[in-house]
């Protein structure tokens, strides 16, 4: 496969992911509205938002970091996509493996932060108090989520003796009984719970605290910036789901499977969010230090005995 073909497939994949992310976002809000007894937005609302945002006439800037922040954010999303093998085709250099180099789990884990960091820097220069509060909360929650999640990742890495996402997916082929969900239930359970925090929906959405307006890191952004950030957010949502799909639910052999699985994974967090009210940050931090952490410990202990 030439580098151009590779680039082409990668861009196509990115396009799919972006749109799928928009659609999932819309669906989420629709479900929320219906549960609250409202009609809700049309499913194409995110595309309208993007169009509106990038065609807004005025652009403001608070300074260079404010300008660069969304770039960091979107690069973070795109990069995560590039480093992730999407669809399993039986070869580490298959069609939909992007530039993943077998998909290094550690790289993915740490690159997640890249976007967060850029966003934090950009939002910080805006000087809006809500931005800073949101980021502070986000970082605290991120750290708390990371602990059980790391344990679960380690457990999986121990299980298959590898950090390669590709190899982990490969090991789960041949029927759902090979999924980590069943072969390593503690790690899977930990991830399924910790994932709620990673996705950032209610009850773990104090970071953005969506009310009538968004109160959080993105408060001060508008126009094209917001468009970039929303796109990045959509990509990141899908990528989080893909990561968990690869790690726990056997990966995907086709885009259809990928879409079905990510939908279910994503909606697990959406449904939980519809039922449970928002946590304060200290509540969410302690929550992750209870059951998910315990499960994470068990996931490790069964492999170190």
């Amino acid at each position: 496969m030439t580098i151009y073909a590779k680039l082409g497939y990668t861009l196509l994949g990115l396009f799919i992911v972006l749109n799928w992310g928009f659609l999932m976002g819309a669906t989420f809000r629709k479900i929320g509205a219906r549960l609250a007894g409202r009609y809700g937005i049309p499913f194409y609302q995110p595309w309208l938002n993007l169009l509106k945002n990038i065609s807004i006439r005025t652009t403001i800037t608070h300074g260079i970091m404010y300008y660069i922040g969304p770039v960091f954010r979107l690069t973070g999303g795109v990069g995560l996509f590039l480093f992730m093998p999407m669809v399993f085709t039986g070869s580490p250099n298959g069609l939909w493996t992007n530039f993943s180099f077998e998909g290094d789990l550690i790289l993915i884990l740490y690159f997640q932060v890249f976007g967060m960091l850029g966003m934090a820097l950009g939002a910080g220069q805006g000087g809006h108090p809500y931005s800073a509060m949101g980021i502070a909360r986000g970082l605290a929650q991120h750290a708390a989520v990371e602990l059980p999640l790391t344990l679960a990742f380690l457990s999986i890495a121990i299980q298959f003796d590898t950090f390669s996402v590709y190899k982990i997916v490969e090991a789960q082929q041949g029927g759902f009984e090979n999924w980590i969900l069943f072969t390593n239930p503690f790690a899977a359970a930990t991830i399924i719970l910790a994932m709620l925090g990673a996705m950032g929906h209610s009850p773990f959405n104090l970071v953005k605290a969506p009310n009538e307006i968004l109160i959080g890191p993105a408060t001060e952004f508008e126009g094209t910036y917001l468009g970039f950030m929303q796109s990045a957010g959509s990509i990141l949502h899908v990528m989080e789901a893909v990561l968990f799909m690869n790690l726990v639910f056997g990966g995907a052999n086709s885009w259809i499977e990928l879409i079905v699985k990510t939908f279910l994974i994503y909606f697990w967090s959406v449904f939980v969010g519809m039922v449970f009210p928002r946590f304060k940050i200290e509540q969410s931090v302690t929550w992750f230090f209870k059951v998910p952490l315990l499960l994470g410990f068990l996931a490790i202990i069964i492999y170190s005995l």
């Binding site: 652009t59 970091m65 800073a132």
Partner: protein, 1043 residues
């Protein structure tokens, strides 16, 4: 060759004393000169014997009185020992007389006669071989001293003198009983014939030998029967204190040295016991002491106790006894006399008042010299003596003695360094400056210089001391002398010196040492460049900074354990002086020093144990220690961990690094901490590297590293002070390094070393930048800053790159460490330690964001609207280091591949495979360069997209935001910076309780309480003191009989 017989010391002194009596009070001036002449004559006599006997040109001389041989006459012996001791005494006599010039002149000829008689009697008790003669001259000396005590005005001196008379009267009574009975049993008063007769064999004679020895021991003011001595030290003229401590104690100690054999070697052990009780007890009780002269008294008694221990161990120390005893004795002699004399110049009773000494900085140097000599730092003789003592004691299995001695030394260091801290940093504005009489400085200066000179000449006499490289120290001394020059010249000299030195030294080093040497030297040069930003002279900075670097390079170059320890202590001293330069650094300097000294003692003991079973002191002996290896390696590790600030030993670091000057913080954080890492590397190699024979130790070390990482990072999150935040961050980062090394695998070490290099790079960048910012804005508190990106964009970029590198986010260099650690953890199976470490990494994001956000982003404060970009002299090193980070990030294989080859020497298993730019481990692969290129490519594409889709952006003003429906107008109400992680704190506060600090505080408190309660035995009542003496004798006797 004919030398002047020592008998002339007695004859001339007596003759002149009578002659001066004839002169009467009218001729004070001339009689003072005559006194000086007499003392000089004595000194000359002693010194010619020192040179004569020392060079071997003459034989030791026996002087027989009245033409008979003993036992029918009194005889004097002038051997090498005697000549040195009398020389020491007579030199103090001359200098003491100069120091007390005005007092001696004012009090007339009588006082001068007494002064002369005192020194004559001290000479005699050293020279005499006759017990009764010694008794007589001890009494004469006592009477003379009691006469001199009263020179000081006031009731205290009078009552102290009386107590002194009473106590010494009783003690000499005891001595006399012993003498008369030993005469009865042996028929001789001559020490040599008594020893030959071996009285211990005879029933009853043992008691008399015991009485004699115990009386001399009591004369040495053994703890606790020494209240009378303390009172004299406190009340008398400082010149008398110096004589008492330097001359009188030296002479009496020599008497004990002479006579100890009359009891065979049966009492040696008990002398050591009494010595150790004195040493530990006295130093412990001194903790609560605030009166400077009394404090010196406590310390003197402690030092004599140490000398008694050495004497008691003379059979074990063998031929080293003299060397060790001389080293301790001469250091104490010079330092204590110097300090007493200083106390008379400074004229401050309370040790806190000594802050005034700073008004004349050169006096501070004198005081520092004396104090560091007392507590046994290089290059002073006590350092080499203590080294030899510990080596020999450990070698003979007397580890509990080593522990006791080092504990006592530690206590001494506590109060001495605390005192010095008051002098350097105490409040001194309200204290009136002191006047200096030139004649009082001369003796102090001579003794301070003598300490260096003696140290220099003593060093080669240890078995391995010859090889100590003094060149860096000469350079330090030269810079010290040039301290009057402006910063720009000294800084250039320092940098050039370091470059030349590094250029000369680097071809001789192996790769591992080269890495550390490069961190020390290149790091040192870069941080020194920042020094150009300072104006004026910056007095004292360059000597101490270079002292630290001299120590650091000495550690690297060390071929022997002594050289290593020498460098270690030099480095500690230098860094202490650097740290305490900070404005509010007094308590932090103290705690840094105490942890360092404690660590150094652990190290010393460990090195001693390594030496067991080897003839050499080569660094090779660290490999495969055979004597109590767990304890030995454990001690070494603890010693080094005190420098890397592992949890439990870390409480000094935040304050020490946080309060230090702007360019000192990176020196002590990015550079100095690596010295501890270097030590740990050496220890772990010694523990067998890949053989890992002591895996339990490594396992414990690993956990300690992980928990340190967590605790350090967590504490950093809750700091409001930018530099303390970075300081806590260093604790955490060093935890990673320790964990990596403790894994004892190829990947673990690769990760550890990768962190060593990285931490040096980014911590130097961050500390330099934040330090420079602090210099501009004048505060450490982050919530008082904000929005500085607008004023200092270059500083912002530096911090941004620094924090990305630290956080481990790809593509910057920090990720290399993370990736290696994950692989190493998986390989090693230390999952929980790893999980804790990665969780710490997550926590690190919080403080890093806080650092950059609250300082550079958010709202600019009104008072910072006109601050300038940080100094160019800071930017130069910062951007040089940033270039290093970028190279490492883009081409990690350039660093990791050679590192891997180096580590393969010790850990050949489990290396990384390199295919082009891709590193392949057992568990995965990582193509650092490609990842970096991918990320940068995406970044640029997205950036271009954004630029295409935004029109000319409208620049808005600072407050063009709506918050709570308003446009804010005050930055203070809008900048979110204070206590930003409140939520996390609510969740995690139990983990932030400073338990370790509370634990050390409790220990300190308990020790001080013990001291405070125990010292109440010194009720100041003369009768109580006599009772102490009587009880001391009875208890000692019962113990000896019973034991």
């Amino acid at each position: 060759m004919n030398l002047i017989s020592p008998i002339y010391i007695v004859a001339v002194s007596l003759g002149i004393a009578f002659f001066m009596g004839l002169l009467g009070n009218k001729a004070q001036r001339s009689s003072y000169l005559i006194l000086l002449a007499a003392l000089l004559f004595n000194t000359f006599v002693s010194l010619q014997w020192v040179f004569g006997l020392g060079s071997g040109l003459v034989e030791a001389m026996q002087v027989y009185t009245a033409g008979f041989k003993p036992p029918f006459s009194i005889n004097l012996l002038m051997g090498l020992n005697e000549s040195v001791i009398t020389a020491l005494i007579n030199i103090v006599g001359v200098l003491g007389a100069i120091y007390m010039m005005s007092s001696l002149k004012k009090n007339g000829t009588g006082s001068q006669v007494v002064f002369l008689i005192l020194f004559m009697s001290l000479n005699v008790i050293v020279l005499s071989r006759d017990l009764f003669n010694i008794f007589v001259f001890l009494e004469v000396g006592s009477i003379a001293l009691a006469g001199l005590i009263i020179l000081q005005k006031g009731t205290n001196a009078i009552s102290a003198g009386f107590k002194y008379m009473l106590a010494t009267g009783i003690i000499s009574g005891i001595l006399l009983i012993g003498i008369i009975f030993i005469y009865r049993f042996t028929g001789s008063l001559n020490i040599d014939s008594i020893i030959t007769a071996n009285p211990i064999l005879k029933q009853g004679a043992f008691v008399s030998a015991f009485l004699i020895i115990i009386a001399i021991v009591l004369e040495l003011k053994s703890f606790p029967a020494n209240g009378w001595g303390l009172d004299v030290y406190e009340a008398s003229h400082p010149g008398i204190g110096a004589i008492l401590s330097a001359a009188s104690a030296t002479a009496t100690y020599f008497v004990l040295y002479k006579i100890v054999d009359i009891a065979g070697s049966q009492l040696n052990y008990y002398i050591s016991i009494i010595g150790v009780i004195s040493f530990v007890g006295s130093n412990l009780l001194a903790l609560k002491q605030e009166n400077s002269k009394r404090l010196l008294g406590y310390s003197s008694i402690g030092q004599i106790g140490l000398l008694m221990i050495i004497l008691g161990f003379k059979d074990i120390l063998g031929e080293n006894t003299t060397y060790v005893a001389f080293g301790i004795l001469v250091s104490h002699y010079l330092a204590k006399a110097g300090l007493f004399w200083l106390s008379g110049i400074v004229k401050q009773k309370n040790i806190k008042g000594w802050a005034v000494i700073r008004k004349k900085p050169y006096f501070l140097f004198l005081m520092g010299t004396f104090i560091f000599a007392l507590i046994g730092f290089p290059p002073f003789p006590s350092f080499f003596a203590k080294w030899t003592l510990v080596m020999d004691l450990v070698n003979t299995g007397n580890i509990s003695w080593v522990v006791a001695i080092l504990f006592g030394s530690m206590m001494e260091a506590v109060y001495m360094i605390r005192w010095f801290g008051y002098a350097i940093k105490g409040e001194n504005e309200d204290i009136k400056d002191f006047k200096i009489d030139i004649y009082k400085i001369i003796p102090v200066g001579i003794f301070a210089v003598a300490l260096y000179v003696v140290g220099y000449f003593v060093a080669p006499h240890t078995e391995v001391g010859t090889a100590i490289n003094f060149i860096p120290l000469y350079f330090v001394a030269a810079i010290f002398i040039l301290d009057f020059l402006p910063v720009i010249i000294k800084n250039t000299l320092a940098i050039v010196g370091m470059i030349l030195y590094f250029y000369n030294i680097y071809p001789d080093l192996d790769n591992m040492r080269l890495i550390f040497e490069a961190i020390f030297m290149v790091g040192g040069i870069l941080t020194l460049i920042a020094g150009y930003a300072y104006k004026g002279k910056r007095p004292g900075f360059y000597p101490v900074a270079l002292l630290m670097y001299a120590g650091l390079t000495a550690i690297i170059e060390a071929q022997t354990t002594l050289q290593f320890f020498f460098g270690w202590e030099v480095m500690t001293a230098g860094s202490y002086f650097l740290i305490i330069r900070g404005k509010r650094s007094m308590p932090h300097g103290l705690s840094y020093m105490l942890f360092s000294i404690g660590g150094a003692y652990a190290l010393l003991t460990g090195l001693g144990m390594a030496h067991v079973g080897h003839a050499s002191f080569s660094m090779e002996i660290l490999n495969g220690i055979s004597y109590l290896p767990y304890l030995a390696y454990g001690l070494l590790i603890v010693g080094f961990l005190s420098k890397t600030a592992a949890l439990g030993l870390h409480i000094w670091l935040p304050g020490a690094h946080g309060e230090a000057e702007s360019d000192v913080s990176p020196m002590v954080s990015a550079i100095l901490l690596k010295a501890g890492v270097f030590g740990i590397v050496l220890t772990l190699i010694g523990m067998g590297a890949s053989n890992n024979q002591y895996s339990e130790l490594a396992y414990a070390l690993g956990w300690l590293g992980a928990i340190t990482a967590l605790a350090g990072n967590l504490m950093a999150v809750f700091q409001e002070d930018a530099k303390r935040l970075l300081a806590y961050s260093s604790i955490g980062q060093l935890g990673y390094i320790v964990l990596g090394l403790a894994m004892m695998t190829h990947l673990g070490w690769l990760g550890g070393f990768s962190y060593v290099i990285n931490h040096f790079l980014y911590k130097a960048v961050l500390f330099l930048t934040i330090g420079a910012v602090v210099m501009r804005v004048g505060t450490h508190n982050m919530y008082q800053m904000g929005g500085l990106i607008k004023r200092m964009p270059l500083a912002f970029i530096a911090v941004m790159i620094g924090i990305i590198a630290l956080s481990g986010v790809p593509p910057l260099s920090g990720f290399a460490g993370k990736w290696l650690f994950y692989n190493a953890i998986l390989e090693k199976g230390w999952y929980f330690q790893g999980a804790i470490m990665f969780f710490s990494g997550g926590i690190a994001f919080m403080y890093l964001w806080r650092l950059i956000h609250t300082v550079f982003l958010g709202q600019l404060k009104d008072n910072h609207r006109n601050v300038k970009e940080i100094s160019i002299w800071f930017l130069i090193p910062i951007y040089t280091l940033l270039a290093g980070i970028m190279v490492y990030s883009m081409k990690p294989q350039w660093v990791l591949q050679p590192l891997g080859n180096m580590i393969a020497k010790w850990f050949p298993e489990g290396q990384l495979q390199w295919v082009g730019e891709t590193a392949i481990s057992q568990y995965g692969q990582w193509a650092g360069s490609l990842v970096a290129i991918t990320i940068m490519g995406s970044f640029i594409i997205v950036l271009v997209l954004l630029m295409l889709s935004t029109r000319k952006a409208h620049k808005v003003k600072q407050f063009d935001i709506t918050y709570s429906g308003e446009r804010p107008e005050r930055p203070e109400t809008t900048h979110v910076a204070y206590n930003v992680f409140e939520g996390l704190y609510k969740a995690m506060w139990p983990a932030t309780i400073p338990l370790v600090e509370a634990w050390w505080n409790k220990i300190t408190e308990i020790l001080h309480n013990i001291a405070d309660v125990t010292r109440r035995i010194y009720s100041s009542n003369g009768q109580v003191y006599v009772a102490h003496i009587v009880l001391f004798i009875i208890v000692s006797y019962l113990v000896i009989i019973g034991g």
